[in-house]
């Protein structure tokens, strides 16, 4: 920090004695607005080239995988260059033509565990500035009783104006709000300002240069990590909350104060050779924890498999203390070796559940599920993935949920994903890391406490259209159901939502009524954040669901769903797996061609698709730069920035 002050002084004096930063990010701001769980983040970075030659500045940010990029722009010399979202194939052709002309530019597709990268580079002439602005939107998903927003911060340079500014508005009222960051020291903690008043909250983090420094009198920044905001809204056993703005509605339904529904779970555990050592150890560790968390009303069973399968018991049994103790012993004795036969143990799991239901061994009102944990492709017994999917679908027959946990990178994720979705479940990748056991437990906890069965949300007939998915087999504690749609009746006086569901003991119906005249008042409050959010949230949710539905349908229907998703993505300018964003750079930078931003797809191996070509100039990474071009430097101007 001392250096920067001297830098300015020397410039005024006109006698620079020491080389100063050639490329400087003098402002970096993350502006986040969240309303009704929908977040719009605007990341703005302003860079100045203080060198007397052009330099390449790199804008490099990470955004959550669940977010869709909605806009990107660069302002150079007052000229705005805006990213245009195009159909993926069109964008790719345009990009490839540029590449064919020798204009290699940045095509970036990098996935991490939760985040993906967005990078763009541009040459800035001497003494010029560039402003990068990236907008991305995300519907925050409630998991384990909270919403989480992560902003990854990694400026490798001290930034004069660094700011994270979050405005939150939740019409249901904010139950709690926590802010933390992996880089927050005791000294930095008081800089995070948080105000919370009922439905509104504001968080700001604006460290000075001094406060950003990793150590006294050094130029290294200490800001490196995740800025994490978690919160939940007030909730009770009611029909939830509906936001209606500009003819679109979004309904959030996540009731509390309900008894849990017992569950029947068959754990199907891969113990093939590839699970040996760490994976097996972590699996056992997680299973021991899960066993301790089983509710005494639950029923469970284990099937372990390699080339063949082995049942722990011939039927599901209650999670009594004695049975759980016995199960711990069984888990401790699991060892890895052999091939991977996924087909037979899954069919056997379905049979175990069938028997349990037919013989009345499990409560009538209960949730039955199969949790498959595997780390590899099927290579023993039935190994044709399509055949396995069809066998499993036939055996489960829409009665139970199948959750597939793909451990590591050797699994064919798309195979597991399709199989889960076809059987009312989800697939989740378990990253091979030191916290794998925690990831497994975390997933289990999400489905550990079913509260409602057969949830149906219905809206005023003939008054709404384009409604997203509105029936759900289960509602789990800590999660939330979100339905959005369009109001088709312009003369609608009263918006009515009916919810029907079954809890552990009874059938429940709930009604939400709001008069459209009241909606105007609510809208006024919501525009405090941004006016068209409901429509964009509807579009976001619809695209997400269409993309998911595509996975488990035939080719004809797939085409229809794809066309619809693409059409919406283009209309709302979202970068999705079906669309790409093209950023045309200034003409004088044609040697760098065009920039293409794409949405990485889960299942891609990390770094696999990364193709980044950068000239050996200076690079700026979200507030950092590494100068590799020596060149003499002479400053003749004073820049108050």
């Amino acid at each position: 920090i001392a250096d920067l002050k001297h830098q300015k002084k020397r410039s005024v004096d006109g006698h620079p004695t020491k080389q100063v930063k050639e490329l400087e990010i003098y402002s970096f701001k993350v502006d986040c607005k969240i309303t009704s769980r929908f977040a719009r983040n605007v990341v703005t970075s302003r860079v100045v080239n203080r060198a007397n030659e052009s330099k390449e500045a790199l804008f490099d940010v990470q955004l959550p995988k669940t977010a869709f990029i909605a806009n990107f722009s660069m302002i150079i010399d007052g000229v705005v260059y805006v990213g245009v979202v195009k159909e993926k194939e069109v964008a790719k052709q345009q990009y490839q033509q540029a590449v064919a002309r020798g204009q290699t530019a940045g095509l970036v597709k990098v996935t991490g565990r939760k985040m993906e990268k967005f990078k763009v580079s541009v040459n800035i002439a001497a003494a010029k500035k560039v402003t990068f602005e990236l907008v991305y939107e995300e519907l925050l998903k409630r998991k384990l009783g909270k919403y989480e927003m992560v902003i990854r911060v990694k400026p490798e340079q001290l930034v004069q104006h660094f700011q994270i500014d979050v405005h939150l508005f939740e019409p249901q009222g904010i139950a709690f709000l926590d802010v933390n960051a992996t880089f927050l020291t005791n000294d930095l903690m008081p800089i995070v300002k948080k105000t919370l008043t009922g439905k509104k909250a504001h968080i700001s983090f604006t460290p000075t240069l001094d406060q950003q420094s990793a150590c006294t009198s050094c130029q290294n920044t200490g800001l490196d990590g995740d800025f994490i905001m978690t919160y939940d809204v007030d909730r009770d056993l009611s029909a939830g909350n509906i936001a209606i703005v500009n003819g679109y509605f979004v309904h959030h339904f996540g009731p509390a104060n309900l008894p849990r529904v017992p569950k029947n779970v068959v754990f199907v555990i891969d113990q093939s050779g590839s699970m040996m050592f760490t994976k097996m150890f972590q699996t056992k560790e997680a299973l021991h924890k899960i066993l301790d968390d089983l509710n005494t009303e639950d029923n469970f069973a284990f099937i372990s498999f390699s080339s063949s399968f082995r049942k722990w018991k011939n039927s599901l049994i209650r999670a009594t203390t004695a049975n759980v103790v016995e199960a711990h012993k069984y888990v401790s004795e699991l060892h890895a070796g052999g091939g991977t036969n996924i087909n037979d143990p899954l069919l056997e799991a379905a049979k175990l559940l069938d028997d349990a239901h037919n013989l009345g061994q499990v409560p009538e009102r209960s949730v039955s599920m199969i949790i498959l944990l595997t780390d590899g492709d099927p290579n023993s017994g039935e190994s044709n993935p399509t055949k396995i999917q069809s066998n499993v679908k036939y055996a489960i027959n829409n009665k139970y949920n199948l959750y597939c946990l793909g451990f590591g990178y050797d699994v064919k994720y798309s195979f597991l994903e399709k199989m889960s979705i076809e059987n009312s479940g989800i697939a989740r990748r378990i990253y091979e890391d030191s916290d794998a056991a925690l990831q497994l437990q975390g997933f289990y906890n999400e489905v550990a406490n079913p509260l409602l069965l057969n949830v149906e949300l219905q809206y005023s007939q003939n008054a709404v259209s384009d409604v997203t998915r509105s029936t759900f087999k289960q509602y789990y504690d800590g999660s939330e159901i979100v339905v959005a749609g369009r109001i088709a009746d312009n003369d609608l006086d009263m918006f009515v939502a009916d919810i029907r569901a079954q809890d552990a003991n009874s059938n429940i119906t709930m009604t939400y009524e709001v008069s459209m005249s009241e909606v105007d008042n609510i809208t006024q409050q919501q525009q405090y954040i941004f006016g068209d959010f409901t429509e964009r949230m509807w579009a976001y949710l619809t695209i997400q669901q269409l993309l998911q539905q595509r996975i488990s349908v035939g080719s004809e229907e797939k085409k229809l769903l794809t066309d619809r998703a693409r059409e919406l993505a283009l209309k709302y300018n979202f970068v999705t797996p079906l669309t790409s964003m093209i950023v045309t750079k200034p003409e004088e930078q044609m040697d760098q061609g065009e920039f293409l931003a794409e949405k990485p797809v889960e299942g891609d191996r990390p770094h696999q698709a990364q193709k980044y070509h950068s000239p050996s100039h200076s690079r700026i990474s979200a507030g950092s730069y590494h100068s590799t071009s020596a060149g003499s430097y002479h400053s003749t101007s004073v820049d108050s920035d």
Partner: protein, 239 residues
Amino acid sequence: PHFLIAMRPPNDAVCFNIDEKPGVILNLVTDPVTGFVVNGELIGDKKTENNKKVNTYFGKFGLVYNKMELRMEITTQEIKLFHGADITRFPWSATATSTHAGFAITINKERNLIVTMGVDVTFVILLHRVWKNHPLHQDFLGFYTLDNHRFSSQTLGLLGQFYHPIDAEVFNIRPGFDQGKVDATMFVKGHKLTVTRGNQKDYRLDPKHGTDVPCWFVHNSGKGFIDGNHTDYIVSTLF
């Protein structure tokens, strides 16, 4: 709280007050055959002036239906439904229905709760919302029986004892002590009581202002009209 008992025929009504201290729990219905019990806990105003009578209302009801292992606690804040060890909690802000085999509750947002057992028993619990900054009054509840056919003839309680017909005769109508009001003699349950003609409110149709129901008012906490003394109906717990 005031009690209003419909008499038929001749489509008249009898009313009485029970004056007890806040915190006292009164038994309203007990049917030993079906195992159905309703108790209500009294609340008072937020504060009272010295030597002035404490107005009391019902602030909490407890319903027990042993046959189905069901219990309900209804307060001015929420409705708790206990089923064995399970608890379901509904806020008054919800419009909701919960249906069990032969038993259902329907909550009409911020207005009332309807409890039905089969087709022969229906209760309504009304929520009376008071301006939350009112210096004296607070939210309270009302309890109405719409249908009591399924209850046995052994049903007891301040309301339950009237689920089966009783004979009452009113005669000798004469000017009363209060100007404009008439007194009469009521012959009921072997007692001769002096009753006064008055009005009491039924809030089912108009929750804010209520509807006046003309009734014969029995003095001294219904003494003579109810079986025994009103203190006989005080119980120690809500369930």
